[in-house]
Amino acid sequence: MTAATPAKPVARGSGARDWFGQHRSISVILGMAIVTSLLPLIVTLPPLNGFNAQRVWIDSFADAGIFVLLALGLNVVVGLAGLLDLGYAAFFAIGAYTYAFSASAFTGQHIPFWPMLIVGALVAAVCGLLLGAPTLRLRGDYLAIVTLGFGEIVPILFRNADFTNSGGPNLTNGTNGIPGIDRPTLPVIQVGDFKVLNIVFNAANPLSYYITMAVIITIVLILVYRLQDSRLGRAWQAIREDELAAASNGVNTVTSKLLAFALGATTSGFAGVFGASKLVFVSPDQFGFTVSFTILAMVVLGGMGNSIGVATGAFSIFVFQRVFLPQLTNFFKEFHVPILSDINFIEYQFLLYGLALVGMMLLRPQGMFPSRQRARELHTAEPDALEPSPEGLDSEGTLA
């Protein structure tokens, strides 16, 4: 917090890096466009086409997008503002159930997907504010345990809010969950009888989900980057580094933390609505602590504070668990490898995440794709890290 120098493009290496650093939104759009169009093509090449058909791959990628979105949201809370939220899946559940209530046969409502995407996110944000307002004044580790409790309570609420046995209304259909949720629809654009554009969302056509997800992620990424460099973003980072110092310098810590919490919840709400519309089913079991834990592992592994790193981490972990772990299990079974063929690797995924979390914290707390600034903070044990090094003022941040 010693030098709040405005970012000056430091001439170094290639000019391209600086250009992308300054035109971040354009870079994000370009990058996402390239990645989004390349992914479906890459999987048709060997050896990836041996794992799954292209359609299955695209379907997995769309699901991975849900977790990328969740991880980006949690990164705002954990990575930028430094608040440990262990009940993040609760907001995911709230978004999903909001859409399920407003667009399924269960309630008889059929409100279209697109406005509900916003409404679901807003509902999650309001819940974030309601939870955050009393608890964000607490010290960080208390917040962790309160959010842990909240994450535990929300699924219990959805599981038990079926009062038919006691003569009351059935609000959530209990453990059975709500099936038959509407899929998104888009108007068919046609000229005469010729359908110019007819985008259909269904299980046979995951490409439309995939592209929708890519667009949502692009928007969220741009927003997060712009927020990160804003006054609010700098306030978050100041709070993360030293809350007392930030407060003494006139940062309204409670409001800033509350906004981080609400924005994280909003992103989670988006993911919830999208997830419900893709799976067309919600049940309380989809939102347990393991989900919050997985998202946290994604954020930590990707590199807290670095959105691109977190997105990459989330994507890799999801594809790893969805595609490679089952394949590994099948592979060893097929070839009757002794000992290994009896192992169901999917059962080991949380053990792996746990080991990864501990290992990362001990050996490389900044994550695989670190934010430079965060890396320096997390290595405070080394005395030279306390001094901003000349390299500290890089093109990435305005605050060193």
């Binding site: 262990l86 009393p134 962790a144 914290m361 997390l378």
Partner: protein, 310 residues
Amino acid sequence: MSEQLVATLTQQFFNALTIGGIYALIALGYTMVYGIIQLINFAHGEIFMVGAFVAMTFLVGIGLHGAIADPLVLIVVLVAAFLVVMPINGLLGVGIERFAYRPLRNAPRLAPLITAIGISFILQNLVYIWQGPSPVTFPQLLSPQVRFSVLGASVSWISVLIVVVTAILLIGLQLFIGRTRLGRAMRATAQDREAAQLMGVNINTTIALTFFIGSGLAAAAGIVYGLYFGTIAFNIGFIAGLKAFTAAVLGGIGNTTGAVLGGFMIGFIEVISTQLGLAVWAHAIVFAVLVVVLVFRPSGLLGTPIGERA
């Protein structure tokens, strides 16, 4: 009618004491570790769970499956179980501290918290792999059918046993912290680590000792849990840990007497909500208590200013 009410109340009173004793034993571990290094040891609930499994393995290993009729033999077996299982679990706690928490002692707060979550998942999944997902029978050394009558209620001797064990351990702990040299070192370290070090307290040993005692008490809770409920599973640590933490906060985190008081209060809150027909909401009610306490009285019932303990 009123006789039946008295019977129900007595019955539930003993239930609450039993459950509360278990929470109190777990809560002590949270509060001691928090008092000394200001870390919420998220893995503590899992340490309790591992303790229950170690005890089960030990008892089955020495060939005990069913009830023991002779009270003298029963007492010997129980004492042996506590003496074997508590140190084993204590060493587990010390090992976790040594390899996962000590390297991060000067790191930002977030780092050890995330590590603790990771450890908790590692322990839970190791037991899952070891014992599988379904609940495992814990040897019923004292059959729940062995009961006595008081005020019209039929109370299992297990409840009495648990209350007695809890009481012995709690009094022992208070004496240890209050009267011994090592206990004084723990209090000094909790109050001001650097000053204690300057006065010749070995900080690393003292912190390791705290983890040893806390994890040992969690193992005792695990034994008691197994005896009372009859089955244990790999996932019992999570909710029990959350509730015990609530107990620790309710009593005033860092305060050992408070943790015990909080544990019994959570036991009563849970039993009362079950009695009122709100069993499925019991978790939610305990959690609501946690939020209310944290918001209105973050220092807890017996709260001392931060940094002081017991």
